[in-house]
Symmetry: C2
Subunit: 812 residues, 2 copies
């Protein structure tokens, strides 16, 4: 069963059946103000921080699912319905949801009335615009009652659902004209309020939820909508909402637009009040005025579209396969932008409460985003590095509102520092801006401790070198990339988190082969960087450390057929054929083959063959196998999951690309691409019902072969999967790979391909690349010409800004 389809021309996914197997959502907003919106208009908005500045109340995991959002009700006398089907679920004559690039259009039609709803956050604006076009598609006059509905959250999403003995007494609103202002706690420490406006005179309103909905009614049948009579309530405590009421009359064929603005305002401390107890509304009114006509809204939407045209123009593939093209040109890039903006904070699986920006996550997210807006990537990588400790360790997370490190989670995840090298070098490779290395960057957000970014990289590199275990391999600390492999935790208390509980790493022998591979891979990036900027001595020193690590891996990290995963606290092997469960893992085999460790000895080929044999499935590569069937206190959270789920033998889509990239290093393009298509959502349209989550973006995990329902996906949207798959397909399979000194062309494609075309904007110029594969090989560049002139090797040097170059590549 299919619930929708792609519309590539409009860069939209079109949902035609609202009862999708899970709410299928989209994201609105570019920088400070964000919204989540489902295909039935569920979801919520927030300003910068989904925990501390949430505008609307949204109840996760509710019954029914996805109950709460920006709802419009039409009472036409015969029936009550919503353009997005929910919450009334009244059957519509026509329904359609179009999720586009940071906008969503939902339209519903019933009994000759059509309601087309456009939702977006204009660029640089702290507000969500909702334009509702109401049309009479019948031959008779239509009179009906129209209601908006939005429930306010009391800002802090955590206490909003916990502290009722306080919350039920604090709610406050103001109503002025057609604008409803939500000002709870503005009287005290908050300098911000929210508002919900409509660009027309209204015939009534409500701001008290219980009065509007009725205590025992639900969103499907609010009392006021059913009766058709607003109560003009002003909320005092309990649960404030915002609902406008408007009586509409339309002649046959007539249309009218209503423009709603749901916005957020901050005022300076000395400018909070218009008069005693009356909030200063100036800024809100400015925003409302900015979007109070259809023309203005359409102009803002055009601006947003142009913004996305510009972003997506930077990498365009024409492969001949529309699935690959839409994946690379539209949806994967889009998801990369979203993960850059949201890290892991707010999705329909991430409640926006628990997690801030991850140190490791955000560095990885950069590799899928940096070409879209290098200047934003630059700021991000500086923000990230600012939460590093002077010894090279890092806060594992930081709060987006304050940019301060998250003390509750702390540090001690020993892979974190190496990812900073990835972040910084990715930025430089894309932008050519080496000046970031000279930026003075704080430690622990303390400006007085600032050192250059280059020193941060050196310190990051050294943090691994300074934390080696008995096998000369990196000590793992709390965890490496796999947050659930907790080798120093030994938790027996179910009330504590594996990530935040105290670690007992004193005397630990727990080492990580994943960090070892990571160190070799990004250590070489660091060495390359040192060489390019003339730090030959440091390069040589680092080379020695990398060589030592390679040797240690070959000596102590090779299990005979694949790379070990780790040594535990006591020095026992993990991910070895000696183990009964968890014999083999993705992570170490991914990074060690990416780094081609022991390639001459055949290690990489053996390792990847073992992955294929033992971890590959119909729906992707599982993280490890056999799955753990019992809790292993010495391994931690990984063994808490039922077999086939999450880190315990689930298909963790984030690290499948590491195997794809490893395969490209071996030149096995058919295998790399097969892995790619198994998890790329655009290739999974036929299993939408099983896959369950959105068919246009990656999910973090797909249930593995040991699970109850293999192929069922979970945790869509916010996952490093987006960036890594984008890197794998563009840089390693298509082989269009930014380098410190230009653009490397190094495809590794399926042998049956005749070639492909890519248009790539890079450092201010455009490369129109055409790759031809006359001999149907996977890898090996025979010749490259630029505007007809052949070059040596496969590195396109830095070219002149503003120009367009035709690059012809022949494999052979």
């Amino acid at each position: 069963m299919k619930y929708g389809h792609f519309d590539d021309d409009n860069r939209e996914y079109v949902i035609t059946n609202p009862a999708t197997p899970f709410p299928w959502i989209n994201y609105l907003g570019d920088k400070d103000f964000f919204s989540l919106i489902s295909n039935t208009a569920g979801g919520y908005s927030f300003y910068k921080d989904a925990k501390f500045r949430r505008l609307n109340r949204y109840r996760y995991n509710n019954v029914p699912m996805d109950d709460g959002g920006r709802y419009f009700y039409i009472n036409d006398g015969d029936s009550v319905w919503n353009p997005g089907w929910k919450p009334s679920k009244t059957e519509l004559d026509h329904y359609e949801c179009r999720h586009g690039m940071n906008y969503t259009k939902i339209s519903g039609e019933k009994n000759g009335i059509k309601a087309e709803c456009l939702f977006f956050v204009p660029l640089g604006t702290w507000a969500e615009i909702q334009k509702i076009t109401l049309s009479n598609t019948s031959n008779e006059v239509k009179k009906f009652k129209f209601f908006s509905y939005n429930e306010w959250a009391l800002w802090n999403a955590a206490t909003d659902m916990e502290n009722f003995q306080r919350n039920f007494s604090t709610g406050e609103v103001e109503v002025e004209g057609s604008v409803i202002y939500h000002k709870t706690e503005y009287r005290e420490r908050r300098n911000h309020f929210a508002y919900y406006s409509v660009n027309t005179e209204i015939d009534g309103f409500d701001t008290d939820r219980e009065s509007f909905v009725g205590l025992y009614n639900c969103h499907a049948n609010p009392e006021v909508v059913l009766s058709g009579k607003p109560k003009n309530t002003v909320a005092h405590g309990w649960s404030p909402i915002a609902s406008h009421y408007k009586e509409i009359e339309l002649q046959p064929g007539e249309s009218t637009d209503l423009i709603f603005v749901l916005g957020y305002v901050e005022n300076a401390e000395d400018d909070k009040w218009e008069s005693k107890g009356v909030i200063n509304k100036t800024k809100a009114k400015e925003v409302i005025a900015k979007f109070n006509t259809t023309a203005k809204v359409e102009a803002a939407l055009s601006e947003l579209r142009a913004y996305w045209d510009d972003i997506l123009d930077r990498f365009i593939i024409d492969s001949g396969d529309e699935r690959l093209d839409r994946q690379v040109n539209i949806w994967n890039q889009y998801q990369c932008m979203i993960t850059f903006n949201f890290s892991r904070s707010a999705s329909y699986f991430e409640s926006g409460i628990g997690r801030g920006m991850g140190f490791r996550d955000s560095n990885q997210d950069l590799i899928g985003f940096v070409h879209q807006a290098p200047e934003r990537a630059r700021q991000r990588v500086i923000d990230i590095a600012s939460t590093q400790f002077p010894d090279g360790g890092c806060y594992h997370q930081y709060q987006p509102l304050t940019k301060g490190g998250n003390n509750e989670v702390g540090g001690g995840f020993n892979d974190d520092p190496m990812w900073l090298i990835l972040g910084v070098t990715s930025y430089i490779k894309e932008s050519g801006d080496f000046s970031i290395l000279d930026e003075m960057v704080p430690f622990d957000n303390d400006e007085s401790l600032a050192q250059t970014m280059f020193n941060h990289l050196t310190i990051s590199f050294n943090h691994v070198v300074n934390n080696l275990g008995p096998n000369k391999l990196p000590l793992i600390g709390r965890a490496d990339w796999n947050d659930c492999l907790n080798l120093n935790c030994f938790s027996m208390n179910p009330n504590e988190s594996f990530q935040t509980t105290e670690n007992n790493s004193e005397g630990s022998k727990a080492e990580s082969l994943m960090i070892a591979g990571l160190f070799v891979y990004y250590g070489r990036e660091y060495i390359d960087l040192c060489k390019v900027i003339g730090k030959e001595e440091e390069a040589a020193r680092a080379q020695q450390e990398v060589d030592n690590m390679v040797e240690a891996i070959k000596q102590n990290g090779w299990d005979g057929e694949w790379f070990l995963r780790a040594y535990d606290f006591y020095g026992n092997k993990i991910g070895s054929n000696e183990n009964e469960e968890g014999k083999i893992f993705i992570e170490s085999n991914g990074f060690c083959t990416m780094a081609k460790i022991g390639d001459d000895e055949g290690m990489c080929e053996k390792a990847l063959d073992a992955v294929k044999e033992r971890l590959d499935t119909k729906y992707g590569i599982v993280l490890n196998n056999p799955a753990y069937t019992t809790y292993r206190i010495e391994m931690g959270e990984i063994s808490t999951y039922p077999p086939g789920y999450k880190e315990n033998a689930g298909i963790f889509c984030h690290n499948n690309p590491w195997i794809m990239i490893g395969e490209t290093e071996l030149g096995r393009g058919d295998q790399a691409y097969e892995y790619y298509t198994k998890i790329a959502p655009a290739f999974l349209e036929d299993i939408q019902e099983l896959h369950k989550t959105e068919p246009y973006v990656y999910s973090q995990m797909i249930a593995g072969k040991d699970a109850f329902k293999p192929g069922e996906a979970k945790n869509s949207w916010l996952t490093g999967t987006a960036a890594w798959n984008y890197a794998a397909i563009t840089q390693h399979i298509l082989g269009i790979r930014p380098a410190l000194q230009g653009m490397l062309i190094d495809p590794c494609i399926p042998t049956k391909w005749d070639g492909f075309k890519v248009s790539r904007k890079f450092r201010g110029y455009t490369l129109n690349i055409e790759v031809k594969n006359p001999n149907h090989i996977s890898k090996g560049v025979k010749q490259i010409t630029i505007d007809g002139k052949p070059i040596e090797g496969n590195l396109i040097p830095v070219l002149e800004k503003g120009k367009t170059y035709n690059v012809n590549v022949t494999l052979g």
Copy 2:
């Protein structure tokens, strides 16, 4: 509009209209296993700790309100309905809910089928029993489909609603016969599981919520119930539930009982499994077998009733006013037991997540509970004292599961220590058990630091003496009784809690007149205790300190017409006529008049007259006035509430009794009793709709005169209001007051009363007290006879256990 009525003979409140203005709830369970149950069967169960061991998922502040509970569905072919009306809200032919003493009966009838549901937790049992009696009240054969429904929480109520990226992959169940076992995380660190059984063979089941309800359906119309076809699903992740399905056929007049058991089991670490992956069900089966027949269930209910007969027999008044009698004899005592059990952890206003047992709260709760079960009070007061610090300070809260102090909240609330004196002396006065003073009691739960309980009291007393400010008055610390008067907090960050944020008391001059009055009042109790146990020297020392405090209050705490409330950080007055807002407060005027400070100089009369004039309203006494209209950073949370709510001029029912008691000290019985009846729920039946919360228990707060809707109550059930009003009416108005060396008789009643009778069980004997008021005065005992023999004074000495005495009291 009335929604129900009292049934005093059965000690029940009978609700006849299910659409109460707020869910009206009851509590089940006596010691370890507890349930909340609303009049429509909403609510949830937990084992000991409402945060860490929650059995069922319950969504607070949902739309519709109170959606989630133990639901039974009947599909009779024509309609789908629930005996408790919700969630289907199908109109019933008859509905009734009877909330009794730790049990609730809900019955519904429709189309000739009657379903009577009995809910209770048998004494000492870790399970809720649900007996459903299905009857055919028609003249024809009835065939229908019957479904149970219960949604499991994944144990930790906080992460259950936050951490979906994990939770959706962890859920696990087992189904064996008619029992559904919920074992999420049992595979790892948990040693406990839950189960839901029925004592009959079933015709099907479901354990996967989405399959049962349908993703976009709701509890009002679950897919499986509508179709009448269970799917026999076994949950893997997502949201596990338990639903039994049974086809029922009843002849005219026939009845059948179904007995459901919702239980909790803990197994030893080495006894967790029956076989690999299969949980050890032995203990669950034992409990199920214990309650598998109607006879067994009825016997258990009788046992519970006998338990309550025994408790409530200990104080029975016959006043001639049924409202007062039901208040004193049934509902106030019942609420005292509930607050003792739950502290402030779980109600329909307390989410069970944020707060454990309060040091201050639990000591005060004791005064309403101690006569019911002195041995439990003894253990409680030892648990409380064990969380004291060696310097006399105290953890403000402790966790019921571990009994360890709550580090997140910490200490520094400078009134806390004095309440321990109240707790211990209340216990001794009731029980006569002075041996508690010799108990060795830890500090900070560290046995190695243990000292005698008496030393704890000395150290508590000294903590005040050692923390005096410039006016020789007690420094307030984080707060005194009023958690929202934060004089050392200066919070500008809306994301921090006033209670848990770092205090800046260095150099503070913030002093509390409330603690000063408290110190004098309970300091004298301490002195009396010292004298009785022969510690004359300590008594003299303490007397000097108390005298000093009285002097300091008279010198620096008297504002001319009433007692000041406090001095702020800078030494400025709070609660003074000099202030524009917050001129006068309840707390200091309550405790200073209770302690009769400056009574000779007329201070008490003036202060109470000022309270009457400035704070008294139709619905009770507001906490302060005029209300604060702006945030005052130097005062903290109190000024964050809109005027008329909570601590900002709300009617805080907890401290109204302090004024009542103060009035009795002045002998003004009419005024004391008028205050009592204004807030006592049994007297408010006629304003049920305005009052909103349960008409059988106190609420923490009623909206004050400055509020939008004065008289509307919030935060019912878990409040010190219960204990204090019980103390005020029984010990100070009726004047039946336990003392260290017997029972004091000192009534202060309305002048119009002719008298009253009380039967009081005390220290193993029974006092049948009859008070006569021939001259219609308020206060003053002219003569007391015991079994006809007059005694000196008004203290009934300790009498012989096992006997019954007739005590005749004549006022005059």
